[in-house]
Symmetry: C2
Subunit: 242 residues, 2 copies
């Protein structure tokens, strides 16, 4: 059965590529890559590899998901080694399973090559621990793309759990209100982590209360930091390590 590779490209820094990812990129006939993938990853490909940007960004989709699925099937049938290169890792957001289903339906075998997820490596790149016994035993990774879904899932504050909100920067004001309604402490740190693991990396830290009192322009300005994730939890913002 012909195979198609779903490959995680890591979080931004090209050196976060795994050996497995590099090995398959070197052999690829076709690479379909996301907007968030560092294009330096493509430098591992052969000179005649066909590389196609199928990146989707909010309100500016280059390709819709069903178009990407169709392309994957089409190229998968036509070429020997087709790579779907995705930001982070294939099954953490990014519709990896939908692509696998489309491939399986068409008689192609999807192979997943895990990457370094932004959900873990971006906080790490800012020296923010996801698990730190001093503060927590658990963390929750959630989409902030749809505030209704977000509100439904965040049932209540748990002091031993941090929150990692992906794709939520456009809804920051509403997210702040929801968290306060769900009994999150007014002084809990909220770290906005933009372009993590790259040279343009920026960290902004506020409390929930500070964010609630920001003017509307602030929330407009902050959208320019995308891609950004939001970390909610305690992490020793002021210690010597940071």
């Amino acid at each position: 059965m012909k195979k198609v590779y779903l490959v995680g490209a890591g979080a931004g820094d090209v050196e976060l590529l795994t050996l497995k990812a590099v090995n398959i990129l070197k052999k690829a006939d076709v690479v379909l890559y996301d907007a968030l993938v560092n294009t330096q990853c493509l430098e591992f490909c052969k000179k005649d590899t066909i590389t196609i940007n199928v990146g989707k960004r909010k309100n500016n989709h280059i390709k819709k998901q069903n178009e990407i699925n169709k392309m994957l099937v089409q190229y998968g049938k036509q070429y020997n080694i087709v790579v779907r290169l995705k930001g982070g890792t294939p099954f953490v957001f990014g519709r990896g399973m939908e692509e696998c289903e489309a491939l399986a339906k068409a008689g192609l075998e999807p192979i997943v090559i895990s990457g370094v997820s932004a959900t873990t490596s971006v906080p790490e790149s800012f020296m923010i621990p996801l698990i730190y016994r001093k503060y927590n035993d658990s963390y929750r990774t959630i989409t902030g793309h749809d505030v209704e879904i977000f509100e439904d899932i965040i049932t209540t504050y748990n002091k031993r759990e941090s929150l990692i909100i992906m794709m939520g920067i456009h809804n920051l004001k509403q997210i702040v209100k929801i968290l306060l309604n769900k009994s999150f402490p007014t002084n809990i740190p909220v770290a906005i982590l933009s372009k993590g693991t790259t040279k343009e990396a920026t960290k902004l830290v506020f409390t929930l209360d500070e964010l609630l009192n920001k003017p509307l322009e602030f929330f407009d300005d902050i959208k320019t930091l995308t891609p950004a994730m939001i970390f909610v939890g305690y992490f020793d913002a002021t210690n010597s390590i940071n």
Copy 2:
């Protein structure tokens, strides 16, 4: 300031090492590695690199955490490039931040090199999506090591959220009871994922109800599958992809 590198080794498969990890391993004077690290990773080191197993395993600690911290500081001061090679990624369980604090206190600079976390790559290696719009928008990563902490954090079932329980296989029976008490559906799939990304990888899938009715010997036997993680959530266990 002298640096000490906390490096993620990935989940088991040596090819899940990142380029960044390989580059630093090639230059390392000393490598202090965990029990869960694939020792093939050490083959990238120079011939005269000092490699030390400081692995901790339940009830069989080779080194205690404060001993590891002391060693890191001691080697960090003595050698140019010291690598603390950790399973998965440094800040997801595994006391990475405690090590950073000890280093910072001793005047050494901790540098974190993210790896492929087992929390994401092990489910992926079994074709289990962490985020799959059909079923969920969120996942929770939690320790099952201490059932009291576990019980405290798992407030209630949320149908749009999956659960990833690390280090919980020894407490499986109690975890099953807690989840049922917290209104998790009796028919929700529980996947036990053992030695993911390696050749000995095994997946066992039951419902909560099936697990509740297993004899005591089952829970003794299953401990032999360690290291194993527990995934609780829907994921199309029966489709053609699996």
